[in-house]
């Protein structure tokens, strides 16, 4: 199973990208928080969320990570969120509503929502120590660390929203397809990985995806966005003579996602054989 399996048809490609989100979130839960920064600002690409959702969620995450033990910190009021004018309350209300619809928060009253417990466990706990160290403690000055934290928060919230909503932006799906040549699974289930993608592989993958029906009309734009995203977030660290992908993404996202997909296929095959 290699990149050809994934990129020739839309269903496996979409499933692969979905698995990648799952795997990345699990890595975060296991304490490998550094992976989240590579998905920062992905929220802008999500077709179904507005900028307000990001603001509200970021605020909620930062507030609750000040003291993850205290349930009162999970609650936010419509009036306490900074950066919104009083006449923009409908925007906040809209964001609250979509957060509730996504299953990230629950409404606890008029104009009040509360982050759900699983969000706190999955998203807040892993990053709480970083935020406490770098933002809340006024004595510490470490300019370098702050962008890291913001990127991490942004990345985790994007991943979590994608996971909960079970919808992916097309550019993300295409990006995972472009990264897929970095890992492959052998027949015995062994996962191999490398950190370079040759021009030929890149072109093959691109050609495969461009001819997929669901992507056909928007491929050019989304491909452009995917490339920009990868460069901006340093997923690709070199482009000549081959594309070089950062090792963490290969190790923690692409390779495990392939393994998941492989296991899923094996399972299905055995079930089919038993029937």
């Amino acid at each position: 199973m290699n990149f050809m399996t994934v990129t020739r048809k839309y269903a496996p490609l979409r499933r692969f990208a979905g698995k990648a989100v799952e795997v990345a979130l699990e890595a975060v839960k296991d304490g490998k928080v550094e992976i989240a920064q590579y998905f920062a600002k992905l929220l802008y690409f999500l077709p179904f969320t507005s900028r307000s959702v990001e603001k509200v969620l970021t605020y909620a995450v930062i507030k609750s990570s000040k003291d993850p033990q205290d349930p009162a910190m999970y609650e936010i009021n419509i009036n306490e969120i900074p950066d919104f004018d009083p006449d923009e309350r409908d925007k906040v209300a809209q964001a609250f509503k979509s957060l509730c619809e996504l299953g990230i928060a629950e409404a606890v009253g008029v104009d009040r929502i509360k982050l759900r417990v699983d969000v706190v466990n999955n998203v807040v706990r892993p990053i709480a120590p970083f935020i406490a160290e770098n933002i809340s403690e006024l004595k510490k000055i470490n300019i370098e660390d702050v962008p890291y934290v913001t990127k991490t928060v942004s990345g985790i919230s994007a991943l979590y929203i994608m996971y909960k909503a079970n919808r992916l932006p097309t550019s993300f799906t295409i990006m995972m397809g472009l990264l897929s040549p970095t890992a492959w699974v052998e027949k015995n289930g062994k996962v191999n990985r490398k950190t370079t993608i040759s021009y030929n592989e890149w072109l093959t993958v691109k050609r495969n995806m461009a001819s997929l029906k669901p992507l056909k009309y928007k491929f050019e734009v989304e491909y452009f966005k995917a490339i920009g995203f990868m460069h901006e977030n340093r997923i690709i660290i070199g482009s000549y003579p081959s594309f070089e992908v950062i090792g963490s993404v290969v190790d923690l996202v692409v390779a495990p996602a392939f393994k998941r997909l492989y296991d899923l296929r094996r399972q299905r095959a055995t079930i089919r054989a038993r029937k």
Binding site: K194, T195, T196, G238, Y240
Partner: protein, 298 residues
């Protein structure tokens, strides 16, 4: 965690042999993929070799060579690129006139010209010419490795700044590995002190110290405990001067971050580049093989 489990004592003890073997491995890999002259292959493609070469970028610009031979090397690399691009092997020959030009433009005192050119002959970038009308010739081995990526350095297209930058990195890395491996070979024959500069050697030692003998892998995260254990070994047990060690250490970390050997900072430590660790795993494997052959252990 005790220092025994964080750091591989065996690797520290044999750091000299291991680092040398790793450099030779890198060189063999270059030759195998780019020039097709060797068979040892642990990397899958030429792309990976080029990416590996980038990790060695700029080694020569550091204390390895003095400034003037460095300039001659750069002129030679440019020449190789042009020769490859125009498919003109004539360009690889160097006449007396060119040597005189080097002397004037690089401001080399004429009586010392030989001192500057001899190191290039020693590391086999240049060799004596086989034609009477020329003095030197760029060695075929060097040309084969450097020519292809160097052609992009010569043939700059204004729309491709990224490609230009990265091809210079590749060229610089290949030249570094080339010179390093030849000087290691020479030092092994003559039994002089080896010529791997310390900032590079220490970067390699940090990597090698994470070797796990159970599964023959190197831990890809460089933990602070491991760094400390290596430092303690050299400063306390081997008695290196502390101030010297400090300066080497800073140099090493600058080198490692600039060349993307350290890719990422994680909670446990620095994440090392995968190709870099794989090179070292292969280096260890070959070192062990060599020792076994020497003592005839089956």
């Amino acid at each position: 965690m005790s220092s025994g489990s964080t750091v591989n004592r065996w690797a520290l003890k044999h750091y000299k042999g291991l680092t040398e073997e790793t450099i030779l491995t890198a060189m063999d890999e270059l030759e195998a993929h780019i020039a097709n002259t060797k068979k040892v292959k642990f990397l899958s493609s030429k792309d990976e070799v080029y990416a590996l070469a980038k990790r060695f970028k700029g080694v020569l610009y550091r204390p390895f060579f003095k400034q003037k031979p460095m300039r001659i090397i750069q002129a030679l690399i440019d020449r190789c690129g042009q020769a490859y691009h125009d498919k003109n092997p004539e360009l690889l020959y160097i006449s007396k006139r060119t040597v005189d030009e080097w002397v004037t433009v690089f401001q080399i005192p004429p009586e010392k010209a030989n001192d500057y050119i001899r190191p290039l002959l020693v590391v086999k970038i240049l060799e004596p010419s086989d034609r009477r009308e020329y003095v030197y010739k760029v060695s075929q081995e060097f040309f084969r490795l450097v020519g292809e990526p160097a052609q992009y350095v010569v043939d700059v297209r204004p729309s491709d700044p990224v490609k230009y930058k990265e091809s210079t990195e590749v060229v610089s890395g290949i030249a570094s590995i080339y010179v390093l491996s030849h000087s290691v070979r020479i030092s092994q024959q003559v039994k002089e002190g080896t010529r791997i500069p310390w900032f590079l050697k220490l970067a390699m030692i940090y990597t090698l110290s994470g070797f796990d003998s159970v599964n023959n892998k190197i831990r890809s995260v460089l933990e602070p405990a491991r760094i400390n254990a290596v430092d303690n070994y050299f400063v306390i047990e081997k008695g290196f001067p502390v101030e010297l060690w400090r300066s080497i250490r800073v140099d090493t970390f600058t080198y490692m971050t600039e060349n993307n050997i350290i890719e990422d900072t994680t909670r446990d430590g620095y994440k090392l580049n995968a190709l870099w660790t794989r090179l070292h795993e292969e280096g260890v494997r070959r070192f062990v093989q060599r020792i076994r052959a020497r003592y005839r252990i089956p």
